[in-house]
């Protein structure tokens, strides 16, 4: 679930600090440096660059157990008219929207409360972060029980207030919501990011607002939140990227069902891979990688995330 991106934000002014060795490689260190870069280079080449090349190249081919043959844009043309693909894309967007419109606002709300340092704020921060380190598989198991139609607590709660129970994960109308419900309250990660940013805000701005007679609500809405633009942008980006890679919970709980109601792009790609349509799976993979890159670039631009980095 957790995704991290990009290059360091605070970068020391390297040119001035390194002027003394700017003449070139320090004497006698060339081999050491080369040797030192070898493991990382080998790992990145083998498990990132070569696979990336293979995915893109073979996405233009029909590739299965029998062999691979170049078919040009056929896979992509098929994707355009593939209703399951569009369904998966729509679901992936809905998963992201649940993150952006529920999870992130809740996280900001809590971060604003805890940043005032009320009694016990550290405890609340720790407790609310705990779900972040719980695995997707454990979450799937937890919610398989939580949503269980016969003994799950959700139906008990719903029935106790006089509403009808559901088989939440296995009815077409409720499954997507039920899957999104597994993570929308998992706010700890975004909460931590926002709190770190609030701590870094200049106190003077908030004090000026107090002098001007702003209530704390007004301060939050008109002073603090606009200043949080960068970190909210980061949260939106991370939310989009994590729904783009969303797999464990969907795969374990529903495998994308019922009737593809919960299928995500990665679950669909995995399904195509598992049924041996490797070229087609790679076309979906290429879309995932491309969308990921475009997201990082455009979101950084929209929220001017890059302005502080090199």
């Amino acid at each position: 679930m957790i995704v991290t991106t990009g290059a360091p934000r605070r970068r020391p002014s390297t040119t001035t600090r390194r002027r003394r060795v700017s003449g070139g490689v320090p004497r006698g260190m060339g081999w050491g440096i080369a040797l030192s870069l070898l493991p990382g280079t080998a790992l990145v080449a083998t498990f990132f660059l070569i696979p990336l090349g293979v995915v893109v190249a073979t996405s233009f081919s029909h590739w299965d157990v029998v062999g691979a043959s170049y078919t040009g844009l056929t896979n992509y043309r098929d994707l355009l008219s593939d209703s399951v693909f569009w369904h998966a894309a729509r679901n992936t967007l809905i998963y992201a929207a649940a993150g952006i419109f529920l999870q992130i606002p809740l996280a900001i709300f809590v971060a604003l409360i805890l940043s005032r340092r009320p009694f016990g704020w550290r405890l609340f921060r720790t407790i609310l972060f705990v779900p972040v380190v719980i695995s997707g598989a454990a979450y799937a198991l937890i919610f398989a029980n939580f949503y269980n139609a016969s003994y799950g607590p959700l139906n008990r709660i719903v029935e106790s207030i006089g509403l009808g129970g559901h088989d939440w994960l296995f009815e077409v109308n409720t499954a997507l919501l039920a899957v999104a419900g597994t993570y929308v309250f998992n706010i700890g990660f975004f909460m931590i990011l926002v709190m770190a940013e609030i701590t870094a805000l200049p106190v003077a701005v908030s004090e000026a607002a107090v002098v001007d007679g702003a209530s704390s609500l007004q301060r939050d809405l008109y002073v603090t939140i606009p200043l949080l633009r960068h970190v909210i942008g980061t949260c939106v980006l991370l939310s989009l990227l994590s729904s783009l890679s969303f797999f464990d919970i969907v795969y374990i709980l529903t495998s994308g069902g019922p009737a593809d109601a919960t299928v995500s792009l990665t679950v669909y790609a995995f399904r195509e891979y598992a049924s041996g349509r490797w070229g087609y799976a790679n076309a979906i993979g290429t879309v995932i990688v491309l969308v990921g890159f475009v997201l990082i670039v455009t979101t950084r631009r929209a929220f001017r995330l890059g302005s502080r980095a090199t």
Partner: protein, 281 residues
């Protein structure tokens, strides 16, 4: 947020604030707590549609089942091997690549930095098919060492970015004298940099350990025999194919969660620092 204008009702404002926090804590952790509590029930207590929330009487039946019948110790051990091995790999490879790119001048320094950092932006999950075939052709498919190497690679970019940022923040003068004295590259790295790099190493270590412990997708893709399953694959089996064993499932989930939660609580400062510095870029 509660307005400070309601000074007449400060108690009410405090009450509302804590009320909101408690509701969110319950929403975030309620289902999890319910599973943890239920792991001390027996089968019929779990399946009773209107049974009590608390186990009555409490039992360790599930915990016995999960070791005796499901052999969860095997999957826990595998997860430890993958997490410790993969974390060490990512830490060492990350430090080795971060040191020269952060602090020394050499040709293509920026090219290495950019490629290693950009690898972090590749959704590796989109590369399923070639990852499978590369692992198979290297003879690493469905082996423990294969998964250790793969996880080392998967988390190398994160390790590199965090450690590079940390090393770049240290003052330049640190190894200057040693360089002037003509000390060898690995002497400087081992004697001077590694001791100073400890905070960065610990941050990477705890984060990557938790990520690998929780990893499901590539464990699913790259292991075939049940002997090589990690704990997450074992949990998924509970949802689908292990013989119906609800007490064992809940006990297993509780045990699987305990490890990363304990790591987080022990090294909270590093986890928080690593995540906030590693992602707000």
């Amino acid at each position: 947020m509660i307005s400070s204008r309601h000074r007449v009702f400060p108690a009410l404002a405090t009450f509302a604030r804590y009320g909101a926090l408690l509701v969110l804590v319950l929403a975030a952790l309620g289902p999890t707590l319910w599973v943890v509590v239920s792991s001390f029930k027996n089968q019929s207590q779990i399946l009773a549609p209107h049974g009590s929330v608390l186990p009555n009487p409490g039992t360790l039946h599930g915990y016995r089942d999960v070791f005796v019948e499901v052999h969860l110790d095997r999957y826990l051990l595998n997860s430890f091997i993958y997490s410790v091995g993969g974390t060490l790999g990512a830490m060492v490879a990350g430090l080795l690549a971060a040191y020269p790119t952060a602090r020394l001048q050499f040709p293509f320094r920026h090219a290495f930095t950019i490629v290693f950092s950009l690898a972090l932006a590749i959704p590796i999950i989109g590369l399923i098919v070639p990852e499978f075939f590369i692992m198979r052709d290297l003879g690493l498919l469905d082996t423990r060492i294969g998964l250790v190497i793969f996880y080392g690679a998967m988390f190398f970019p994160l390790s590199f970015v965090i450690q590079r940022a940390f090393l770049a923040s240290l003052p330049y003068e640190i190894e200057e004298a040693a360089i002037m004295d003509g000390a060898g590259y690995f002497t400087i790295l081992g004697r001077i940099i590694v001791p100073l790099a400890r905070p960065g190493l610990v941050t990477v270590g705890v984060l990557v350990f938790i990520f690998i412990w929780n990893e499901f997708f590539f464990a699913q893709l790259l292991t075939i025999s049940i002997d090589n399953f990690n704990i997450q694959l074992a949990l998924a089996q509970f949802v689908s194919t292990f013989e119906r064993n609800d007490t064992g499932a809940l006990a297993g989930a509780t045990l699987a969660m305990t490890v990363p939660i304990a790591a987080f609580l022990l090294l909270q400062r590093y986890v928080v620092a690593g995540l906030t510095s590693g992602s707000s870029r």
